[in-house]
Symmetry: C3
Subunit: 201 residues, 3 copies
């Protein structure tokens, strides 16, 4: 499997978000690394298991492992510059879901799944790493917080197939999809967008 630039960027973004979450929880180096690893490979691992694409990607070559180790060490060294930990964590997590949604959709397309199944697969790929990170850190999983999260991935997925229908260039589709997801998420958090709770009348 040839690692594309997108894969590497997504891995780095999620690894940094995981490392920052571990640092915030005051874990030791090893604990920080485990959280970074689980966050960055969690979504892709669940995706590969669900579609039966085993051995999972990070067992087939060590590039993933080295990228996460490097991202963890860099996060630890520069942690004082990432002083607004929560903001940095949010930013890297958002870049991560933008990229991983695309990767999940492309994986689905490569085995001829229908668009809706591809979008579901992209959303699982994007969201599960962050959910696993939050469960390990004993936080409420991101997808259950008030903010718009998985919905941004779903909307990005529809943008992906919308642009596909228009036969635009793949690079434009990638930028458009990731951009949509990142923009929706930033706007949602900044303006406190949320869905109404289901009240029991």
């Amino acid at each position: 499997m040839i690692f594309s630039i997108l894969d590497i960027l997504g891995l780095i973004a999620f690894a940094i978000s995981g490392a920052l979450a571990g640092i915030e929880k005051k874990l030791d180096f090893f604990g920080v690394f485990v959280i970074a690893m689980v966050t960055s490979i969690g979504g892709g691992t669940l995706r590969d298991l669900l579609i039966g694409n085993t051995p999972v990607f990070w067992l087939l070559n060590l590039q993933t492992f080295y990228i996460v180790v490097a991202a963890t060490i860099i996060s630890i060294i520069f942690r004082q510059y990432l002083s607004f930990l929560r903001t940095s964590l949010f930013l890297f997590d958002t870049i991560g879901i933008g990229i991983f949604t695309i990767i999940g959709i492309e994986k689905g397309l490569s085995i001829n799944f229908s668009p809706i199944v591809c979008i579901l697969l992209g959303t699982v790929t994007a969201c599960f790493g962050g959910v696993a990170r939050d469960i390990l850190c004993n936080e409420i999983p991101v997808i259950f917080r008030k903010e718009i999260y998985a919905t941004a991935c779903l909307m990005g997925g529809f943008m992906f197939f919308g642009l596909k229908l228009l036969h635009v260039n793949d690079d434009v589709i990638y930028v458009g999809t990731a951009g949509t997801i990142i923009l929706i998420r930033i706007l949602a958090v900044r303006h406190n967008w949320s869905f109404p709770k289901i009240e029991i009348k």
Copy 2:
């Protein structure tokens, strides 16, 4: 894969039980849907992963997805009529494990597993969705509560193979198995049946 009536009934029962759990936790629509989805596909997904039956069933066609969306919307619309939420949740969960035990056993038989392995597989299929629901909702997992839960599935499994030995009709086996499970569970909860705790003398 042709969806049988049993499959659909089981999915609906678990989707409603998940949706009610989400409504009780005051999640938004999306959160309620995620809990409904995880509850109804959790057991079957773990079963398919364990036996290597991938891509898992709900990626192969969208029927599961539509059924869960419909059951979620119906649960939300009629939530005031389901005012005894806990009781309704218990009832739908119980119907769900009754049906999913049978489906898990049949799946095991279709790949020539021995009866005891089939019963284990049926129990995993039946119980894991509810366990995942409870972990996500931050409740004590059903199988660790005082009540008889997985044991009802195990007993239903023995009933299944007992009836099989008697060469009775498949429909009778299904009704007998699901009936045994539902009856045991209702009696256990009503009469507070439980196993003794292991005390450290």
Copy 3:
């Protein structure tokens, strides 16, 4: 799959550690058995899923099942003699990770993975059962506690391939690897060895 003595020893050690954890949580017999089962098969199951070795090992024959049932019953009967529950739990857990690291590495070698991937796989095999046990028992997962845990497995893994390079006998490699892991872990706990936390300056 032919069960070796190592497999059986590892299963028994983890089953006892899981059963003791369940007894400490005052679960009933069934709950104690479920924790014992999850602890002893958790690591191997995740390993088999990740490498695509399905149906997973414990569905293929019932030996695992019978061993765990027997170990659970024995743990319950002799629980008053295991009065220093925490110490016994630590000991059996430590023997378990020592043995399961070797089994995971051997599994990786049998499908021609590189040494580092084998060591990762061994560590996952050894650690995940205990992590699952702790999540179910609502404890902080072992790998995030102060003590050296996964690191002992990693070091054992390096010892394994170091001895392999010296072309020593397989039995010596096994004893050396498990011994290294068990020794590091006992010394670490006795002398309170730990990695420094990552402080935010």
